[in-house]
Every structure is written in structure tokens, then in C-alpha cells.
């Protein structure tokens, strides 16, 4: 198993239902910046026309996650399917993982006095096969699934659509696959000029090799 998520972000309408569902499902601390998932906005203009890009984001559950390697107590650890979790009881609040995460996906949960982050709703995968954010999204932005299962909706989608990653150059092998918008103008305004575009056939061997290398730690 190698859990990942594709995000068809062109469909995001910024309703924030995913943020609310996540908080409700996982008992996340209330507060403006206490979020496991969020919708980021970037404003810009193209030939004088203003635009807003909406980027639903969360932990990338990287295969080579810097947050795991810097954690002195193994509080940040991999579990089955390559999901990264934090054991709050083991967190010494050194905040090294927050500094190491290139995506700002971690925050302090003051109710537990520990670092908190997205878990891909791992407690309910077996039962529902999905996450709260995916289940609640009215425009089907998110597709959660197993990269090792060729029949999963996720893999089928990745075979059909091109995609890119956030900050790929850092080399963490993130597992949020952002689908290239079908609308050419939206793709142009929302994808950085240095971003590499991939296809599943091209990237699959790299991710399979990396997952195999890491799988011993995915308990």
C-alpha cells in the first residue's frame, strides 16, 4: 500500500468544506492557523486582468520526509501505506519537524501540547476508503487512493491526466499530485514557470523504487 492523493485544484471553489470536515472528523484544535488542511490563495494579474488561484493543500506525506528524519524521539513516524503521523505523547516540542517541512503543513496542537498534522484520516481508511476532505468536497477536487493498486480511482486518474508536485526540486518525493488544469489559461496562471509536468508512466518507476526502499519503515 502506498497512499496518495490527486488534487484537481481547478475545481476548487474555496467553500472550505474540507477544512471544516477535517476539523470535525479529527477533532483538530479550533483557531485560524490550526489547520491540517487549508486552501491557499495567490493573487496576480495577467495582461492587466486580475486573478486568484486557489490551492487546496495539506501534508504531502513525502516518501523521503524530512520531518521524520529530524524527529529525535520518532514521534513523527511512518505508518502503513506511507502515511506520516505524530504520536503526541512522544513529542518533545523541539519544533524541528515544523522547520524541516517545506510545506508548512505542521502546527502545534495546544490541547495536546504536541505537533499536529494531516493523517489522511487513517483511522477510517479501512472502513470508508476515503478521507473526510475528499468525502465532503462538493466539486470532487480530491481523489484519495493507493498508488500500488492499478485499479484504484487514483491511479486511473493519474494515467489520464498530467500532474505536478509542490517544490519537487527539494527531493522529498511528495504524494500530493496536482492535476494540470484542462483550461489552458488557468494552467498558465496557476503553475510556476519552473514547475516540471509529469505523466504517471514516467514518474511511476521513481515512486515505486522509493516506496520499496522505504517500505520497511511503513509499519
Amino acid at each position: 500500500m502506498n497512499y496518495a492523493m490527486a488534487l484537481d485544484y481547478q475545481s476548487c471553489i474555496n467553500c472550505k468544506a474540507c477544512e471544516v470536515a477535517c476539523k470535525e472528523e479529527n477533532g483538530v484544535q479550533l483557531g485560524a492557523d490550526k489547520q491540517r488542511i487549508w486552501v491557499g490563495m495567490v493573487e496576480g494579474s495577467n495582461e492587466g486582468k486580475p486573478f486568484v488561484n486557489l490551492y487546496p493543500s495539506q501534508c504531502n506525506h513525502c516518501i523521503d520526509a524530512p520531518c521524520v528524519s529530524v524527529c529525535p524521539t520518532n514521534a513523527s513516524h511512518y505508518i502503513a501505506g506511507g502515511i506520516i503521523k505524530v504520536n503526541a505523547d512522544q513529542c518533545i516540542l523541539c519544533k524541528g519537524c515544523m522547520e524541516a517541512c517545506p510545506y508548512d503543513a505542521r502546527f502545534i496542537d495546544d490541547t495536546k501540547v504536541a505537533v499536529d498534522k494531516c493523517t489522511f484520516c487513517e483511522h477510517q481508511i479501512a472502513e470508508t476508503g476515503t478521507t473526510a476532505c475528499q468525502a465532503t468536497c462538493p466539486t470532487k477536487v480530491r481523489t484519495f487512493g493507493d498508488l500500488d493498486d492499478p485499479n484504484s480511482d487514483l491511479v486511473k486518474l493519474l494515467e489520464k491526466r498530467r500532474f505536478f508536485f509542490q517544490k519537487e526540486e527539494i527531493g522529498t518525493l511528495p504524494k500530493l499530485f496536482y492535476l494540470v488544469p484542462e483550461d489552458e489559461a488557468y494552467a498558465k496562471q496557476s503553475i510556476g514557470p519552473n514547475t516540471k509536468i509529469h505523466t504517471w508512466d514516467e514518474i511511476k518507476p521513481l515512486y515505486e523504487r522509493a516506496a520499496k526502499r522505504r517500505s520497511q519503515e511503513w509499519k
Binding site: 477533532g27 484544535q29 524530512p66 529530524v70 524527529c71 529525535p72 512522544q90 524541528g96 508548512d104
Partner: protein, 420 residues
């Protein structure tokens, strides 16, 4: 003064009142009280803030505490730590105290290896100042951690993490330095002489490892380019520490040894060494900011940190200090330069920690910095001012250093000249 000899050590026999109620100790207690007040505020924020989750609101909606927690969640800034700027002034102070203290110990070991007689005579005092600063650094970092969970460092260690390596490091480093001090103080001179070279070489090795681990702590944060792209970070930490260590040694020498015959030669040696260290540090700064990602370099050299960088660091550590040190012969100028490099050294640690976090991580898609709400403004610069409590802890750490030094001095008269 009457003495007791124990395990080869001459220990001053003094009353509890003499030991703990003198002017220096009272000043230390005052500083420590400020630190404890800071600790109270930080712990209050960390452990007793009004917080709640979505579940709390559902389980017990009539609880009056919920109202306060909800108000804080909506209108306040909940909790102690800003997610954009996790490391704060406590880390800066930890770096400053610990690196400077270790730098003093490192320099004394080097001086012993190179047979600088004037340092050898006074080495115990310097070593104790170094240890006192290390304790002050450890006091600071302890307040920053969730100490109740520290046992997990032993139960489920991640031995490859630099953060974890600090535990065995200090478990070895501090006893080792204390053993060095013991050998220097002990009457068993023969053993000290036999072991001297081995101890000095080991000391230099351990000091180097310490700085290497500290550098790893920062360079593992792949996305923070100020920390990852600064060339030869271990050496940079060593050289920059040497400058502030020499500053502390200069001030200490003035305070403790100014009426002794060794004062002038010692200050002359500190002046010359500090000159070399400052020039080396200057080269590091120039090469460093030419190598670092230009977004980070611009943030510090031309952006919001530029005033602090140039007036709080460059002016004090390089320009004024060099002007004061360049001409030999006046020890008072060296003392003044020592004070300036101490302030500059602390400022440089502030800039290093806050500068590493200054560029938001939110330019995830290469199209610009993100914001989360329609009416927000996208932040191109991150700075979270330290809480008053954190600043108080920094002040309190000076008290910890002072108490440590005075206890050692009271028991062993470490400021006295030693021949070994």
C-alpha cells in the same frame, strides 16, 4: 581561607551565607527571578491557554470555559508558537550561550596545545565561564521543550537525528569538561601533566563534533536556504563563536584579573586573536551571503533585517571593533571591543534564527506567496516578535551563568592564578 581537601581538590570552607548571599549572587537571583517570571508566562501559554477542539464544543456546549476558548480561537492568537516561525529568541539565546561557552572551552584547549603560558595560568577561570554559559544555554533550551516527554529521547531514540545526537553529546561533553576542570584544579599534578595532551586533543575533537552536530541541526531543514546554503556551517559557527568567546574572555579578564601583572599580556593576546577571528568572520560573512539563495540574502542585506544586520551586527562586530583593536597598547579599547562583539554576536544569532524563517514557505506553486483568507494580505516576510516571557527567560539565563560561575569560584577560587 580555611580549606578541605577532597579527592585531591582544595575546597574553600565557607559558610552558607558567604556562599549564597553576596552581591554577585544577589544580582544573579534577581536575574533568575526575571527568568522564572518568564517561565511562568511561557508555561501558562503552553499548558494553560484556553483551547478547544470541534469535539469539545459538541460534547459539552454549556461549559463556560468553552466561551473563553471559542473567543480566543476566533479573535486571539491561540497558544505559544506561531506555525510560520517555530524557532524563536530562545533558540537564538541557546545558540549564543552554548556556542560562546563551548568556544571559550575550545579556545582554552587550543591555547594549551599551543603553550600560551598566560592562558594556561588562568585556564580554570575561563573554563568555568565556558561551562557556566553552556549551562545557561541548556537552561534556555530546556524551557523551550516539553520536558515531560524528554524520556522518549531514551525510550524511542532516532539516533540519526541531529536533535537526538545532542543528548549523548552533552552527556559526554559536560562531564568531560568538568573532568578537565578537575584535572586543572587538582593537586595531583602528575596525572594532569600526563593526560594533558590527550585531554586537550580530545577536548578539541569533542568541541568540533559539537559544532558539527549544531550545524547539522540547521542544515537538515532543506527548504530554509539561509541555513542549508551557508557554506561550511560548522566552521562558520566555530569562527563566529570564537569572536564572541573572545569578547566574553576580554570582559571577564577585565572584571577579574585587571589588577594582576598578567592583565596586559593577556589582553594583548585577546586583542590579537580577536583581530584574526573578526577578519576570518568577515570573510565568512561575505562569502556566505554571496552563496546563499538570493531571496534569503536580500531579505537580510536589503530587506527588513538590513538595519539590524548592518547597525546591530556589522557596525559593532566589524567596523567599531576593528577600529578599537587595530592599534595595540590600550587594554581599555580591547575591553570596549569585547563588549561590542558580545552584543554583535547575540544579534547575529537572532538574525540567523529569525532570518531562516523570514521567507515564507507558502510559495509552494512558484506563483507567489499564499494567503488563507480573501481579506488577508499575502506575507512576503515572516517575523513573530518574541513573547515577553521568552525575553525574561533570556535574562534569567544570564543569572544561571552567574550562579554557576560563583558557586565554582566560591568553592575552588577559580579566578586565582594556577600553575600546572
Amino acid at each position: 581561607m580555611e580549606m578541605i581537601t577532597f579527592a585531591g581538590l582544595d575546597i574553600n570552607k565557607m559558610s552558607f551565607k558567604q556562599m549564597f548571599f553576596n552581591r554577585a549572587m544577589l544580582l544573579a537571583y534577581l536575574l533568575l527571578i526575571v527568568g522564572i517570571l518568564g517561565l511562568y508566562q511561557v508555561y501558562d501559554l503552553r499548558y494553560f491557554s484556553a483551547t478547544l477542539t470541534a469535539h469539545d464544543a459538541g460534547i459539552d456546549p454549556t461549559n463556560p470555559a468553552l466561551k473563553e476558548a471559542m473567543r480566543e480561537a476566533i479573535f486571539g492568537t491561540v497558544g505559544e508558537i506561531d506555525r510560520n516561525s517555530p524557532w524563536t529568541v530562545l533558540i537564538s539565546n541557546y545558540m549564543f550561550m552554548l556556542y560562546t561557552g563551548s568556544g571559550i572551552i575550545f579556545l582554552v584547549a587550543l591555547a594549551e596545545l599551543l603553550k600560551f603560558k598566560v592562558i594556561e595560568k588562568l585556564s580554570v577561570g575561563f573554563m568555568v565561564v565556558g561551562v557556566a554559559m553552556v549551562f545557561a544555554g541548556l537552561f534556555t533550551i530546556t524551557t523551550d521543550l516539553h520536558v515531560l516527554n524528554i524520556p522518549w529521547m531514551l525510550i524511542t531514540p532516532n539516533t540519526e537525528a541531529a536533535m537526538w545526537m545532542m543528548l549523548p553529546l552533552y552527556l559526554v561533553y559536560i562531564p568531560f569538561v568538568l573532568f578537565e576542570i578537575y584535572l586543572l584544579l587538582t593537586n595531583n599534578r602528575a596525572l594532569a601533566r600526563k593526560l594533558a595532551l590527550v585531554i586537550v586533543i580530545m577536548s578539541i575533537g569533542i568541541d568540533f563534533i559539537e559544532y558539527y552536530i549544531q550545524a547539522s541541526l540547521f542544515s537538515m531543514n532543506t527548504a530554509r536556504h539561509l541555513w542549508t546554503q551557508f557554506p561550511a556551517l560548522t566552521l562558520y559557527f566555530i569562527v563566529s563563536s570564537f569572536v564572541s568567546s573572545l569578547g566574553v574572555m576580554g570582559v571577564y579578564t577585565y572584571l577579574v584579573h585587571r589588577n594582576k601583572s598578567e592583565y596586559q599580556p593577556l589582553m594583548s593576546l585577546i586583542r590579537r586573536t580577536m583581530l584574526i577571528a573578526i577578519v576570518l568572520l568577515g570573510v565568512f560573512e561575505v562569502v556566505g551571503y554571496m552563496s546563499v539563495d538570493k531571496v534569503w540574502a536580500n531579505m537580510i542585506l536589503q530587506g527588513p533585517f538590513s538595519t539590524l544586520y548592518f547597525f546591530g551586527y556589522v557596525l559593532l562586530t566589524f567596523v567599531l571593533s576593528l577600529l578599537l583593536l587595530i592599534k595595540p597598547g590600550n587594554a581599555n579599547r580591547t575591553v570596549l571591543a569585547s563588549m561590542l562583539v558580545i552584543i554583535g554576536g547575540f544579534v547575529s544569532r537572532l538574525i540567523f534564527v529569525y532570518g531562516g524563517n523570514a521567507v515564507p514557505m507558502s510559495n509552494r506553486f512558484g506563483t507567489g506567496f499564499e494567503k488563507n483568507e480573501v481579506y488577508d494580505v499575502a506575507e512576503p516576510f515572516i517575523y513573530t516578535a518574541p513573547h515577553l516571557g521568552e525575553l525574561c527567560i533570556v535574562i534569567g539565563s544570564i543569572g544561571v551563568a552567574l550562579i554557576t560561575y560563583k558557586v565554582f569560584d566560591g568553592l575552588f577560587s577559580v579566578a586565582k592564578l594556577k600553575q600546572h
